[in-house]
Symmetry: C2
Subunit: 439 residues, 2 copies
């Protein structure tokens, strides 16, 4: 895992920390969400395995070190610094909330405690891995919430920001509650159910639509989903019906889904094909799904691409990775400072923290504090550079998300913004914030 996959300033700071004799200082950084994305009341955390994999495998190749040596920003760096990079590894600690946990503003998704250079360099990679996947898991959870129990399947790789983002997005969507994905590699790597049968090109490759359905059905039997809108949706439906069972059902990919699904359902039922299902795909998001469900559209599954794979209405979130403590143990007396940024509108909260979940609120406390009657959400993951136990798998993460979302007040799961689940600060944390703000 290339340690160059980071912002240059992480590496110039690394050189700075090294040259100013700070490399033995231990810093604590927290990755948290400063502002929830538009209309979101929570985020569902995802992406932890990629973060862990990165920390466990982080290093500089010889060619990469030579590259840095040649940059003007490193002209005054010492030979010892480049020697140090050669042996660079992550030897610190990672604490994190498990994948699938719903979190709120200001709560640390993960905490790194390590010699300052090892804590600084991962900033960029960790932010990118965890926020993207959490955005997708969150978006999926919103869709599943309003789907009235019908399946939501992820079809978005072609819209993802690189194909690999499609694989990780498919995984995140599954964590958030999707029933499956069209991404075959995500199925292979993570054991997620994969779905999909044919595109318009299949239909067009035959001289008649009926022939294309017949051939598909011969191959895929009751797995067949006939895509009926290449030329005319209801005409296509009629042709699928003529072939008779067994097929899974039909897919509508354009037009007015409410009206077409009702007409197609009536045609299927009239032909005695009550078991045949209807899937729709094309320009769906959580609002459109809610509307179709509310209007009683007889749809059995929603295939969602763009809006899931890119978290279309909120493709980024204001997550930060901020130093909250720094310790210097080199003197006779250990020296610990709490740190915070006071920039206009961008102040950060000092001190390593723990999150306690109560029924109707969270308590953000200093990491040493206890709180009766509540679950502590952050757990140790890596200690001294070693993974302490295998991470939960994607199915466990998905179950955790479902369970923990169900335990939240219903308002929190609404598509519209509200503040029904407050995050309070413990007395000790509030006192620290006040003290640091004054210093």
């Amino acid at each position: 895992m290339s340690a160059l996959l980071t912002d240059l300033y992480e590496l110039t700071m690394a050189a700075g920390y090294f040259e100013t004799g700070k490399k033995e200082e231990r810093a604590t950084f927290e990755l948290s969400v400063r502002r929830l994305p538009k209309d979101r009341n929570f985020i569902v955390v995802a992406g932890l395995p990629q973060a862990v994999d990165y920390l466990l495998n982080l290093k500089f190749e010889a060619g990469e070190i030579d590259y840095l040596r040649g940059l003007p920003q490193f002209r005054n760096a010492s030979p010892e610094f480049f020697d140090y990079l050669r042996g660079f590894r992550f030897t610190g600690d990672l604490f994190a909330v498990p994948e699938g946990t719903p979190l709120f503003t200001g709560e640390p998704i993960l905490t790194i405690r390590a010699p300052i250079i090892e804590a600084q360099i991962p900033e960029t990679y960790l932010l990118s891995s965890v926020t993207f996947q959490s955005l997708v898991a969150t978006k999926a959870a919103r869709m599943v919430e309003v789907s009235g129990g019908r399946d939501v399947v992820e079809f978005g790789t072609r819209r993802a920001h690189t194909p690999e983002a499609g694989v990780l997005g498919a995984r995140a969507a599954f964590v958030g509650g999707c029933a499956g994905t069209s991404n075959t590699l995500a199925g292979y790597r993570f054991g997620i159910p994969v779905v999909g049968t044919a595109a318009h090109s299949w239909v067009m490759s035959f001289s008649s639509e009926t022939e294309s359905f017949r051939r598909m059905q011969k191959l895929m039997g009751k797995q067949s989903v006939h895509l009926v809108d290449t030329y005319d949706t209801l005409e296509g439906t009629r042709k699928a019906i003529e072939l008779g069972q067994p097929f899974w059902g039909i897919r509508l990919d354009s037009g007015d889904f409410l009206s077409l699904s009702k007409q197609a359902r009536a045609m299927l039922d009239a032909a005695g094909l009550q078991q045949a299902k209807i899937m729709v795909s094309g320009d769906l998001d959580e609002y459109r799904i809610r509307e179709l469900v509310k209007d009683g559209a007889p749809i059995d599954a929603f295939g969602v691409g763009t809006e899931l794979a890119t978290s279309g209405d909120a493709p980024s979130m204001g997550a930060i990775y901020k130093m909250v403590e720094i310790e210097n143990n080199s003197g006779t007396q250990p020296l610990k400072r709490f740190t915070a940024k006071r920039s206009a509108d961008k102040a950060s909260v000092p001190g390593a923290k723990q999150i306690f979940r109560f029924e109707d609120h969270d308590l953000l406390a200093l990491s040493g504090e206890c709180a009766g009657g509540a679950k502590a959400l952050q757990q140790p993951v890596i200690l001294g550079g070693k993974l302490i136990q295998p991470l939960p798998g994607v199915r466990q993460a998905r179950e955790r998300a479902a369970t923990m979302l169900a335990e939240l007040p219903a308002d929190v799961r609404s598509l519209e913004r509200n503040d029904s689940f407050p995050v309070h600060q413990s007395a000790a944390l509030a006192a620290l914030v006040k003290q640091i703000g004054k210093s």
Copy 2:
């Protein structure tokens, strides 16, 4: 390059084409933009090297084939199909417009002509690679257009949809006209200029802001960019000035950029530091840049993260990959059909096409046609599975973008939507569209 990194339906269709004896049929698919993203008048094409690399290295590993064999969708596929996958390679042709070319609605970014299975499987990967990178290159071009000649630098990896998307996004932003990136791996891999000095954590790691600046300056000399807003922007500026030259300048990362940049400029000038520059970063997009430039903000460089790395206001675009022709050469008489989708609002245009650029419009013609006085934009890249010559590098792509954008009417480069650059169909193409629409 795993051939499983695609939608499952590409692979079930592959099985279908195989089992129905169509695998020798040659299909032509075009990847084009059905709708330009919001407010865009053009897209700058980027991402071709990733697409080419994929096509040249595409294959199925043994474990991947076993995985497919176990899926219910492939229950009826023959042993011969899985044998075929073992030897699967891309042996077809790729035609494409070079990276950096500005394109318009309906124009093929790339065209694949290959045995139908080889043409079908790449759909998902090609769409994801090319559309994401084109979105970022386009966004960059919009920012550079209104920057009044000041540098726009790309700082967005932490917001990118996975760290690897950050690397490719940094490259695309450079193609679109950015001056550099903070992504170090993009610098190492592609030779793009890298920039960056320090974050707030650097300042906070010292007990005083002045000490943090002094130490940075000692290491980085005139490369130093002092981040002055950790505690108070103007107070931070004063501390940087006290240290005196040499330093590159200061960076403002929060607050009112217009007012703060004017005050900081006055302070720097009053101290005789006319050479010291001002960079701003934080929540910038093309509209904000245009406003700051128009208001005369004394800003020398804009650092842009989120909006560039995710193409924030348009994180996806309606690109399609559609079959336009299919040929069957197995009989005594070669048989060629033109294909198109007629779905409501989603009709596609049949026939392999060429794009001709005139001064004030494009002409979309059938691939065999000629047009006097215009440049043909699509060029062969891969023939018979072999790359015919090395692709142009990222600097050439960047120059092409700058030159070709400058040649377009000024209106086209405006941030607001207009239709000043029409795309016409040739008479032959129009006739074909009419004919297929009726069939």
